[in-house]
């Protein structure tokens, strides 16, 4: 029977080619993502193993705050500890390290690199101890004075800066000019993972990124014969009590850094995996459909096999054997293609160079996914094949026109009612999870109902085509509704893609509309000055002070952040002017927002989570809190919960807000991420803009900071959301391509099946052009059907989520009509395009041969 299966496969190889491509495409994505992940992990593992190759122990602060985005943040330690460590037994050499945000400004005055989207832009001190320095000079020499820097080779190549050039670098201290003393490579790479690096002498680095007299870590190398563990123990012994330090070995710092990078990369992996999974899910519909049609077309063959004694099991296994083989071959080819995808993405993401990592488990996962999905998709068709009665060998094969199965209809309706009910409950009950489950149910319901809907909806959608395109249009409409189950499952692939895309589009446009609305209605300010550093470091506080002192300006309220411990738990605390609440329309539910000394305003959600109410006392210590300096073991400063605030329309300014005086007393080098500016009554935006811009220019921040009116601010947020649109575009293209494969498949097989009929039509006088048009429009109607169903599910889900999140900032539900129309047009065009080749083939059919076909 395997032979029969193999022969069947070979005999229908052309019909299976689409199935094959669908499998390969899905596996290519899955395999590509897995290989990319393995490659990235290995590359970064190697990178950091190399960086810390000769580091045997690291001393660092034991105070850390886990950040929501990015690695943990630790406090600084005294630079004097370098000497202490050097004095420990077994230490060969030791050196302090300082690091932070630093961004090079290129010759055009534009900042290099985009830490919001890509690799970070970093700065630090040039290590004097070779064994502790991962960089090596490739041109020029190390920095020897305050004004000199070494830059990484990638940045040097990208900007054209070299030894002797003047270079402007943005740091916490604003934008300053330095002289490039040298260019360095990072081990064997031009830069560490695409990040840009600026390296100063230690005192400069302390001034620009840390604090004079402080370092973030002290690294040490061991004398030969001293183990890392022994060295760490020796260093621990000599460190003074109350120095708030911890010592870890070189091996530990390697593992920790590797883990940090890996968890940072995980979101990327998950993101790509979602694409891959969508490709596989959409592909599974194509595979299912393809097998269904092939089985239908081979009904007589199956019946003959059954008549001459093939058992049901044997027929079922023959079909499944075909699926296994198609799955295996498709997956193998797909995996190879995946290597290409991985290479492409690795280049795009500037993963450190090196061969692709092909881990057996990833290979097996990718191939197994392909085979399992294929076999799973073929299960139902195989079962159907085994149910073909032997008598079918003796009669003409009837086209399956059943769309209405009472059972299917009932299940579909029940699922639909449940799904819609859940969406409604979730939407009004503020539960996005319920909405999600409801949408999933509704989608399942659509799959069940689609065959029943295919005829009436197809007829309705096809009506204009039938009217406009005459006989060809009428045939197209009738054919599209002829085999409702096939139409439905072909359209399903498109339904998923369009559903997802329209869902995301609706969320996106609703976020934008909500944001615009709140800014228009509630934003009491006129300008936003953004530091352009993605929150890493901001502008010097002098900027806000100078703007605030301008005659046109009523208030310039800065926002500054710092990691801190509230009741001992790590978090981020905001410092601002009390006027900020009014300007951003952040309502105080309880208490006051005066932000007097010792006051803290807590957000509603945080207060609820931590059971805080007005009048409660909490401890609030910033990391490296200046108020605790020189008082080891002192109790953390206290603060009083003075007010509880709404999140506010713009999402709030943080969970804990204190006054600027309190903030600055505790944080030695505060910087402002944003400054919100409100003009005096009667002063127009146009009048005030030049003076505010001049202030920024004078601070030397023209290259990085942005002065934006409310409209410009809105556009900027909008353009950030546009990143979403690009992703959606990619998703749409991917889903459309796979769905198109499915449509091509169905149309090709349908045309084959109707060879005689088409021959007859041609014989009685239908022109080639008309035949082609009929096939094309049939495809377009099927696509439109899938698109319409997808839109329905997408809109239902989008509305549900937006409604459910109304209290979280989604006040407006907005249908992006233009985009949704474009998506629909793309769906129909995909259908027309998919049918080009089959339509051409149908038109070319030899009339006599067609009529005589068995």
């Amino acid at each position: 029977m395997l032979k029969v299966a193999l022969r069947g496969l070979w005999g229908h190889k052309l019909r299976l080619i689409i199935t094959f491509i669908a499998v390969a495409l899905g596996v290519a994505f899955i395999g590509g993502v897995l290989v990319l992940t393995d490659t990235m992990n290995r590359a970064f593992d190697d990178l950091f193993a190399n960086v810390y190759k000769d580091t045997d122990a690291v001393v660092r602060s034991d105070q850390k705050v886990d950040s929501d985005f990015g690695p943990e943040i630790r406090g600084n330690i005294d630079e004097s500890l370098v000497k202490t460590v050097q004095g420990a037994r077994g230490v060969s050499e030791a050196e302090g390290n300082v690091g932070g945000f630093a961004r090079v400004i290129d010759r055009n005055g534009d900042p290099v690199g985009n830490p919001g989207m890509g690799a970070p832009t970093l700065g630090g001190n040039w290590n004097e101890v070779d064994a502790l320095n991962p960089f090596n000079i490739s041109a020029g020499r190390p920095p020897s004075s305050e004004g000199q820097v070494v830059i990484d080779k990638k940045t040097a190549d990208d900007t054209g800066f070299g030894p002797g050039d003047k270079i402007r670098v943005q740091t916490r201290d604003g934008v300053n000019t330095f002289e490039v003393s040298g260019v360095a490579r990072f081990g064997t790479q031009d830069s560490p993972g695409g990040a840009s690096y600026v390296l100063w002498t230690l005192p400069s680095a302390q001034r620009l990124m840390g604090e004079p007299g402080k370092v973030s870590t002290v690294a040490a190398t061991a004398e030969s014969g001293v183990s890392q563990e022994q060295l760490a123990r020796n260093i621990r012994e000599v460190l003074p009590k109350g120095s708030n330090t911890q010592v870890i070995t070189g091996k530990e710092i390697i593992n920790e850094t590797q883990d940090t990078i890996k968890s940072g990369l995980r979101f990327l992996t998950v993101f790509f995996l979602i694409f891959a999974i969508i490709a596989v899910v959409v592909g599974s519909f194509v595979i299912y459909n393809s097998f269904t049609i092939i089985v239908a077309q081979r009904t007589r063959e199956m019946a003959l096999l059954r008549a001459v004694g093939a058992r049901r099991k044997q027929v079922r296994r023959a079909v499944l054997a075909e699926a296994v083989i198609v799955g295996l071959v498709g997956s193998a080819v797909g995996f190879l293609a995946g290597l290409g995808i991985a290479t492409f993405l690795a280049t795009l993401l500037s993963v450190p160079e090196g061969a692709l990592a092909i881990v057996p488990s990833s290979l097996i996962t990718a191939i197994a996914t392909g085979v399992i999905v294929t076999v799973f998709s073929a299960l139902l068709p195989a079962w159907r094949a085994s149910r073909v009665p032997p008598l079918a060998a003796m009669r003409e094969v009837a086209v399956d026109t059943t769309g209405r199965s009472r059972v299917r209809l009932t299940i579909g309706l029940v699922l639909m009612v449940l799904g819609v009910a859940l969406v409604l409950v979730g939407a009004f009950g503020a539960s996005p999870a319920q909405v999600g489950i409801g949408v999933a149910l509704a989608f399942l319901a659509i799959l069940f109902l689609a065959p029943t809907l295919a005829r009436p909806v197809g007829n309705a959608l096809g009506a204009p085509v039938a009217r406009l395109r005459g006989v060809a249009g009428q045939l197209a409409r009738d054919n599209a509704a002829r085999n409702p189950r096939r139409t439905a499952s072909t359209a399903a692939a498109l339904t998923i893609g369009v559903g997802l895309v329209s869902f995301i589009l609706i969320i996106n446009s609703s976020i934008r509309a909500s944001f615009d609305k709140t800014l228009e209605e509630n934003f009491g300010g006129d300008f936003v000055v953004d530091s352009g550093t993605f929150g890493a470091v901001g502008m010097p506080p002098s900027v806000a002070r100078k703007i605030g002192a301008l005659p046109d300006v009523k208030l310039a309220a800065p926002i500054r952040f710092q990691p801190a411990f509230v009741n001992g738990k790590g978090t981020t605390v905001t410092g601002s002017d009390p006027g900020i609440f009014d300007m951003l329309d952040i309502k105080l539910i309880h208490g006051s927002g005066d932000l007097g000394q010792g006051d803290v305003v807590v957000s509603k959600t945080e207060a609820a989570a931590k059971h805080l109410k007005v009048g409660d006392t909490i401890t609030l210590a910033f990391i490296d809190d200046a108020r605790l300096r020189g008082r080891p073991g002192a109790a953390a400063p206290k603060a009083r919960v003075a007010g509880i605030s709404e999140a506010g329309p713009t999402g709030g300014i943080g969970n804990y807000t204190v006054g600027l005086a309190d903030f600055d007393a505790a944080v030695p080098n505060p910087t402002d991420v944003q400054v919100f500016v409100q003009l005096k009554p009667g002063v127009t935006v146009a009048e005030a803009e030049p003076t505010i811009k001049r202030t920024i220019d004078e601070a030397g921040l023209a290259a990085t900071a942005k002065v934006q009116s409310v409209d410009e601010y809105k556009d900027q947020i909008g353009s950030q959301l546009n990143v979403f649109l690009v992703i959606i575009g990619a998703l749409l293209v991917l889903a459309l391509i796979i769905a198109m494969l499915g449509i091509v498949n169905t149309i090709v097989l349908s045309v084959l099946e109707r060879t005689r009929e088409l021959g007859l039509l041609r014989a009685v006088g239908m022109r080639r052009r008309q035949v082609r048009a009929a096939v094309r429009w049939e495809s377009a109607i099927i696509s439109l059907f899938g698109t319409v169903l997808g839109l329905a599910v997408g809109i239902l889900g989008g509305w549900g989520i937006v409604r459910a999140l109304r209290d979280e900032g989604f006040q407006v539900f907005q249908l992006p009509i233009v985009f949704l129309l474009l998506v629909s047009a793309a769906g129909v065009l995909a259908g027309l395009f998919a049918a080009l080749l089959p339509a051409w083939a149908a038109g070319r059919m030899n009339v006599l041969d067609a009529i005589n076909t068995e």
């Binding site: 005999g11 003959l304 096999l305 001459v308 004694g309 008598l391 003796m394």
Partner: protein
Amino acid sequence: MEAISDSSSPSDASVAFAPPPAARAVDAVKTYGSGHTAVVALGGVTVDIPTGHYTAIMGPSGSGKSTLMHCMAGLDSLTSGQVFVGDQDLGTLSEDQLTLLRRDRIGFVFQAFNLVPTLTAGENISLPLTLAGRKPDQAWLDTVIDTTGLRDRLSHRPSELSGGQQQRVAVARALASRPAIIFADEPTGNLDSRSGAEILDFMGRAVRDMGQTIVMVTHDPVAASYADSALFLADGLIVDRMADPTAERVLDRLKRFGE
């Protein structure tokens, strides 16, 4: 309706030496649909198919001849009554047992679409054996193949064979597993008269030279003339029987249906 049979008649002198019938139907009734729209395809047919005999089943369209054959071959089930292949009551068999019965004890020749298009002629011939996972009896297979005269075409696909050749491969396939009985459904229906004659002759030799039992449904008097006897069905009942039919006598008999 009185049962008409060749071998159960006590007046037949050969009965004492005749083997038991290859297949038989007892009061076979088959109706389609229910209520007032019900169509009676078989109205209670009792018949024996003698072993080693070439039986033609004749009758106009809608007479129930195909239904009778399908039910006797285990392709379709009766509404009431019994059918036996050998002494096996088909009504007591499960779907899977029926399949095995077809595979091991019954051969089929259909009017059209007799061969799996992706298998070669040779592979089609041994298909029932392959399905059973049995090793073919090579000597018997050679005999069958030689009788078809298609030894040089065994590696050809059905699409590369003429209609007559395809039908000979189909008969060879039916013979390959040495079934107890072969059912042929209008085997010459799709063939020109010369190819048709070849097939009929070939089936005749299978009965005479190889001792096979064949039941052939046909509406062609010429085809029926190759058989040892002919049964006539009308409106789901056996109405007549003819030994050693000739084309003229069959035609005469068929004409009387029109009256």
